[in-house]
Symmetry: C2
């Protein structure tokens, strides 16, 4: 199969032209009748008119007696009127008014007499306290217009108006065909080279959220005939079809040809990133989308192309995604040739809404999960500098962002545990943490981008942690240093220590593959210090420039056998069942800027630090010492004196 | 059964105390395990940690060749390096990197040689174009904290992290017991005195929208033992029980006693309107709510008391209902003793957001359906004057309100048809119409509260419609008069004319029950004129002060036999299969203020007026004449000259 050059059609052009092409092919919704009681959330396909009136009879609106109003004329406090038995009827709320009677008097306003008559003390106006026929709904009245979402109260109104079944737009059936030789159904223990088919589950959930019905077909291997047959079958059964390419973008991409063999390809190649290889086609007049294999590309492509099709099907106008402006914490560089979608994490620090770009890899589905918003960088724009105020499409509600504790700095799995305990204590509070190392955390606090930063920086001259760094970067204060934990740092090595590593010095030996942390992290600074102390030239260590961002990812490389040793904390080694050579107990503290310190979020976090639940969790994780967590450590000289 | 005096506990006090009482009784959610692929929207009951890494093997991020990076060192454009066959491996995106190899070179950057070796022109950095193990997710990492809603991308992240089943909070089962001798299951033809059980369907839909599972039990007659048995059964089966009282609030209200006989009543009587008779109780430690029978009361009580319980169950903080400020179009009077919930219809006219109070009857479910917001009048406040700026809890999105054509004035069913055609043409546009009569419409336009008003006011001196009124109320212009329809006005009378009514004069005869329209409506003004012309004293007409707000509701009274005659338009008579004595063809026009005239909404409405679809609809309804609809009629003297 030859290499196919993709076009680079601008996103909005493609979207508009494709909708027009489909309209020309007759793409439109179908209808069905459903019981009103099961119609909540459905969209009417035609106007709904009441069959009957509600109330359907003149009904008492009170508990009391029904009377002939004319019998009561002239009644006052001083000239009460007697209504003889037979000239009134006792009625409860909702009871029918007997024929000819035309007013109700409340039970509190009558005096029953021994002879069965009643005395009344004021005249009744005709039709008082009577719910007239049709007070709520009149027969023939339009209850709901066409293309209107049915709400719970609309269900009540329809039933009240005598309607038990309603014509609605059918829910579109969206077929999803996963393809690829390397793709396997979700399982707990995939083999190397096997890729779990989770796109189908993500897309199904999105389709479900958009009010349509997903149908996930079995995985189809990379063979043209099989893909074509699966497409034909799905196009016959479904209203819209998604063909999810295997992640192999090169030699084995049969998607476009298979669609073309049964129908038409309108566009192949959209000027968006991620998502460029998307295909917009049709088979039997039904939309067929070729979706790129990487999950993030796939999510963006179906958001941009499938969602509008579903809205068109339902004749609803998409509710526009709320947009807000925020300040970029880091520069973002983008290509000129495409519109780029950058996922960002967001948080309010003080009054300022910050947006931090997340990992842009299109295989990193967790970054989509963590995203609070999407920064769209238009085609023709090179990107933005840090500090730029940009427009963000919000994925999280503003209220959540206002109640999110933003933690940026050194990584420790205990941060996630703090976040979990915080949210368990108060479901209105959230935590978002980014791992940029201790120095990165100090800088984020200085720039006003975080409420807290994990920090464990060793001053090799004093042997003390953090204090001298704070004096340097916050010479006039403005930040509090909060005692968190002591933690066991050391060398993580494969279980059983097959390479007989005895000390840090050994990592420079030939044949040992080291895996490092990123520059600026406290652990990297410690490793650099250990090199110096052991008179090792870092370049001599194989893999010293192979950088990972967290303790856990260093441990993961060693556990998988792709590296032999790396510095990290005991809890990470324990998690991956690695051997551990302790090097030191270091102080892992939290920096909190003064302006955030008194906020309820931070105060609740400090309570978490002091809680028994936190202590229990750390014991379980292992390798931590706890000594008065949550206490303020003075660091300025005049504070200490 | 004795009369029980209700307490009058303030709403917030009751809500808070009740939640505390339930917590003391141990009210809390239960958990279950569900497949991850079916977990979208569910709430985690505990933190979720990854089982495996994603990717779980070092994978190529490109199509190309995997190499030993050290083999490539020194390669440049001028000093290419040859990699022998066997020292590289062809890899596609996603393929595993062979053991020991540690870099990928893109296919575009190599030159294949005849002997099976490749030439490369730049050195490969170790680990370039390789997706490291755990790049997306590391084993042991927390993917989701407790009490977190599962999103589509979270499903992807969990599957990628090797998790196939997840612990979530069970969906609570909410039992609904309808009670009342007069209550019958929804049907098309209820008898007088029968009340359709639609509350259960409304509540079920609300419960479903809140993420819980409704269970609607059969209707229980008003007998203490039966209600008690149904309660016991539901409290055993469900997590929360709603006991929906029959609408009879007086003699047959067993709810409180039945709850007390099996558990406890904490509150009976809340200072809210509607909703006062609500009961907050518990049976077997499970919340049991006694819900008033009127639908509007019931909706408000379950919104205020059930919704917080469901949120508590899910450990989620309720997302606060958006609040906006708007100007009241009419005064609202409220009692001091309770917090009142007034439903309002809303619309932007120019930049000003207006709120019009809807029918406050607690039996009028259609008013809830039409409501765009709720005005909460605090306990201790007497209400607000027209024009007051008030806080409104929004039920409709602001975007919808900005695209809603506000029509206030004379009633005609054709307005609903215009609204329907408008929305069918452009699903982003909506219409809201209120019936306040022609004079009310003129006033609404003058106050800047409407985009359009239906108007058919006869100047009896000139015999012409509308023009002299516009000259009087808009002497300097500012409004356009748009030709709409001619319509056949006349006397609607029972089918077959059993009372032999031959002309308007006959309605003054003894034994004829007239039903009138409200003062200020064009039809009322016409009726007053007919009285004068026929030398009838209006007080002589029985029912002349019985007022209905629409042509259809007048027709409904006649059709049901509760009145014998009333003025109205032919289409209403036809809808109810009534006889009709024509009186005149009147001009029903639309007033549109200049400031709204050029808006897309109004222009699209004018297109609808001129459309064939509108003409067809009117033909079908009957009694209309169409002559250049949508045309501007000059009304100022200098315009006409």
């Amino acid at each position: 199969m030859g290499f196919e050059y993709l076009t680079n059609t601008p996103l909005d052009t493609a979207k508009e032209a494709y909708l027009k092409d489909l309209t020309d092919l007759g793409f439109d919704s179908t209808e069905e009748t459903v019981p009103v009681s099961e119609s909540c959330g459905r969209i009417t396909s035609e106007a709904v008119y009441a069959h009957g009136c509600a109330p359907h009879y003149a009904a008492s609106a009170m508990d009391g007696i029904a009377v002939y109003a004319s019998d009561t004329f002239g009644a006052t406090d001083t000239t009460p009127v007697r209504i003889a038995a037979g000239r009134f009827a006792v009625v409860d709320t909702g009871d029918q008014i007997p024929d000819g009677m035309d007013a109700v008097i409340m039970v509190e306003e009558i005096l029953l007499q021994d002879d069965g008559s009643v005395m009344i003390y004021s005249a009744a106006a005709p039709w008082q306290h009577i719910r007239q026929i049709g007070e709520d709904i009149c027969a023939g009245e339009m209850i709901l217009p066409s293309y209107t979402k049915i709400t719970p109260s609309a269900i009540g109104a329809m039933i009240a108006g005598g309607i038990l079944a309603v014509r609605v737009i059918k829910l579109p059936l969206i077929g999803i065909i996963p393809t690829g030789d390397e793709i396997v159904s979700p399982c707990a223990d995939p083999k190397p080279g096997e890729i779990l088919e989770f796109n189908g589950s993500i897309f199904s959930a999105m389709i479900h959220e958009w009010g349509a019905i997903p149908k996930l077909y079995p995985i189809v291997p990379d063979r043209f005939e099989l893909i074509r047959d699966a497409l034909r079958h799905a196009a016959e059964e479904c209203d819209i079809v998604l063909l999810n390419a295997g992640s192999s973008a090169g030699r084995e991409d049969y998607s476009a040809e298979a669609i073309r063999s049964l129908g038409k390809v309108f566009f192949h190649g959209i000027a968006m990133k991620p998502g460029k290889p998307a295909i917009l086609g049709a088979i039997y007049g039904k939309p067929v989308l070729g979706i790129p294999g990487y999950p993030v590309s796939g999510i963006l492509v179906i958001e941009e192309f499938l969602h509008p099709l579903i809205n068109r099907w339902f004749h609803t106008k998409p509710s526009s995604c709320p947009v807000t402006s925020a300040f970029l914490t880091r520069p973002v560089v983008s290509g000129l040739k495409y519109e780029e979608f950058v996922r960002v994490r967001m948080g309010y620090v003080g009054e300022k809404l910050m947006a931090s770009p997340l990992n842009r890899g299109s295989g990193v589905v967790s970054s989509f999960m963590k995203a609070d918003g999407i920064l769209r960088i238009p085609q023709g724009t090179e990107g933005y500098e840090a500090g730029t105020q940009v427009s963000i499409q919000l994925l999280s509600p503003i209220e959540k962002l206002k109640n999110t504790l933003v933690v940026i700095g050194s990584h420790d799995p205990l941060l996630d545990e703090i976040g979990d305990l915080l949210h368990r204590t108060d479901p209105g509070l959230f935590m978002s943490s980014s791992h940029v190392g201790s120095m990165g955390g100090i800088m984020a606090i200085r720039r006003g981008e975080a409420h807290a930063a994990g920090c464990h920086l060793l001053d090799t001259e004093t042997g003390r942690y953090n204090i001298s760094f704070l004096r340097k970067y916050f010479p006039h204060g403005g930040v509090k240093l909060i005692r968190c934990v002591g933690r066991n740092q050391g060398l993580m090595i494969a279980k059983g220590n097959p390479l007989n590593i005895r000390s840090f010095k050994d990592v420079a030996r030939t044949g040992i593959r080291y895996v490092n942390r990123q520059k600026g992290s406290g652990t990297r600074i410690l490793a650099d210090y250990l090199c110096k102390e052991n008179h090792i030239v870092p370049e001599k260590i194989y893999g010293y420039d192979r950088e990972e961002l967290t303790h856990t990812s260093v441990a993961a490389q060693i556990a998988s056998g792709s590296a032999d040793a790396g510095m990290g904390i005991y809890s990470a080694a324990k998690l991956y069942d690695l051997d551990f050579l302790p090097v030191c107990i270091e102080e892992y503290d939290l920096l909190i800027p003064d302006h955030a310190f008194e906020t309820p979020m931070v105060q609740k976090m400090l309570s978490v630090l002091k809680s028994d639940a936190f202590r229990e969790k750390l014991t379980q994780m292992g390798g931590y010492t706890l000594d008065r967590p949550g206490e303020i450590i003075p660091y300025l000289e005049d504070e200490i004196l």
